[in-house]
Amino acid sequence: MEPAAQPFPCPFCGAQAIAPRCMTCQRDPRSPRRICGHCQKQTPTNEPKCMHCQFTPGSELSWKVPVIVLMFIVAFVLAVALQLAK
């Protein structure tokens, strides 16, 4: 039997679905998905808001880039301070 034709629980709504479209939530049950940081449920990656709780996640880089820049600034300031102290 063709595996794609077998029904399986839709990761988004939990109803029995057959790829390529869940008849309950009208989403592709095989599409890329993320875990919502607020409600911990699966939601499609291509939808900006969580389909369950409407939470909008921020980009991971929004805190990583400032932290990285800050680390280099601290390293630079430390290097200059150490040179001046000699």
Binding site: P3, P11, P32, R33, R34
Partner: protein, 145 residues
């Protein structure tokens, strides 16, 4: 050295399996930022550069099941799942795999959901065997012979 032990990975992947689906192989891999950026960050300052590379590195656990190739982006010591991507084994996109002395590289050229990661032989117990088995199962050469 191993990032995760087998039970935590099989448990994490097991939560994504459909009824009747069997997990065959699993592996831990990473996707680092581009080599040019790594070199630039390291030239600026070694320690902040190394921390920056670690922050920008994505971790993956992949599993080959009887029906699908599952790709989970994970983080933390408890293998917390962040993102899930899956490919039907019957409709796999063009794959490019390469095995060196340390790493097994797996690339999936899917226009909608492309994937690349490298799998270190010490990433987790039997990571080399599992990643090579996954690479062999998804690479186009499987049709030959």
């Amino acid at each position: 050295m191993a990032r995760y032990k087998d039970p935590i990975v099989t448990e994490t992947l097991g939560k994504q399996l459909h009824p009747g689906e069997q997990l065959q192989h699993w592996a831990y891999g990473v996707r680092q930022p581009p080599m040019g950026l790594i070199i630039l960050l390291m030239l600026l300052a070694i320690l902040p550069g190394a921390i920056a590379v670690a922050l920008l590195t994505k971790e993956y656990v992949i599993g080959l099941t009887s029906h699908r190739l599952l790709i989970l982006r994970v983080k933390g010591g408890k293998c917390v799942v962040q993102e899930i991507t899956e490919y039907n084994r019957a409709q796999l996109p063009p794959a490019k795999t390469d095995t060196g002395s340390l790493f097994t590289h797996i690339t999936l050229n899917d226009p909608q959901k492309p994937f690349y990661a490298k799998f270190h032989r010490m990433g987790m117990p039997n990571n080399r065997e599992h990643s090579m088995a996954i690479a062999a199962a998804i690479s186009p050469q499987r049709l030959v012979a």
